[in-house]
Assembly symmetry: C2
DNA sequence: CTTGACCCTCCCGTGACGGGAACCTTTATG
DNA sequence: CATAAAGGTTCCCGTCACGGGAGGGTCAAG
């Protein structure tokens, strides 16, 4: 199965699939003409990666998760640890963004937004 | 005032200040020995940038905000438009992260996290 | 006079790809 | 059978906002 087909099945752009091969996440076979040849196992791995990336796992996380996925004797606690850590990071990011949102919403609300130069947003950025 | 001092006053690393000069956000004078020399106006600009970046504005946004800051005849609506757009982007980002959090929290909760290979997190990533 | 703390420029690396050039192979069509 | 379109390949540069470090000049203190 060539890369275009693999792209269609997994939803990943061909460029991304090549990149994943570059960094060693998947190792497709090669046909005689040099074209990549993806088996069902490769496709499963790529789909796995697509879903993990969609959940915001980093490539490094994905590498670990993929290793655990391939390890029949894995302990679920290992997987859970990665997920928990990622969850904590996401929650921190959300909290930071919510702070930003509060400040910005406040500024936007107190700004008249008219033709006059008087602007509390600029004032705030000016004075801290 | 040399770059170390400017860094201390604004809280920006020296590297960042040099970068801001590279991309044309600030244009400090130069002393005879080639050292950058920052005036009060430069420091105000840098502090402005530090606060705007802290609120998550992109460098491109900052460039626009800085131009408006310097324009005594600006309309506050122009500033408000940038801030509102940024606010919308932040809210979208928060929503996306909250979705992720919900899914991940669910997965983490249903995972036993013991020594056995049975793991709902992997299952979910495997099957979609 | 030397030491150490500054300063400078320049180049490489980050994360996770995207765009595009230059070139080869396969497939469909006149 | 020739050709054109649509696939494939590698390779290199660009993204964003800097950080790290090399290699070298400058300055103040002991």
């Amino acid at each position: 199965m060539n890369i275009k087909h693999a792209s269609g099945v997994t939803g990943l752009p061909a460029k991304t699939i090549r990149y994943y091969e570059d960094i060693g996440l998947v190792k497709p076979d090669r046909a005689d003409n040099g074209y990549r040849d993806f088996s069902d196992v490769h496709l499963h791995k790529l789909s796995f990666l697509a879903r993990a990336r969609d959940l915001g796992f980093s490539i490094s996380d994905c590498r670990d998760l993929l290793a655990l996925w391939e390890d029949q004797d894995r302990a679920s606690s290992d997987v859970r640890a990665i997920a928990k850590q990622h969850l904590t990071a996401i929650e921190a990011k959300i909290a930071g963004l919510q702070d930003m949102r509060a400040t910005l919403a406040d500024l936007v609300q107190t700004c008249a937004g008219n033709d006059r130069p008087d602007c509390p947003i600029i004032d705030r950025l000016r004075k801290g």
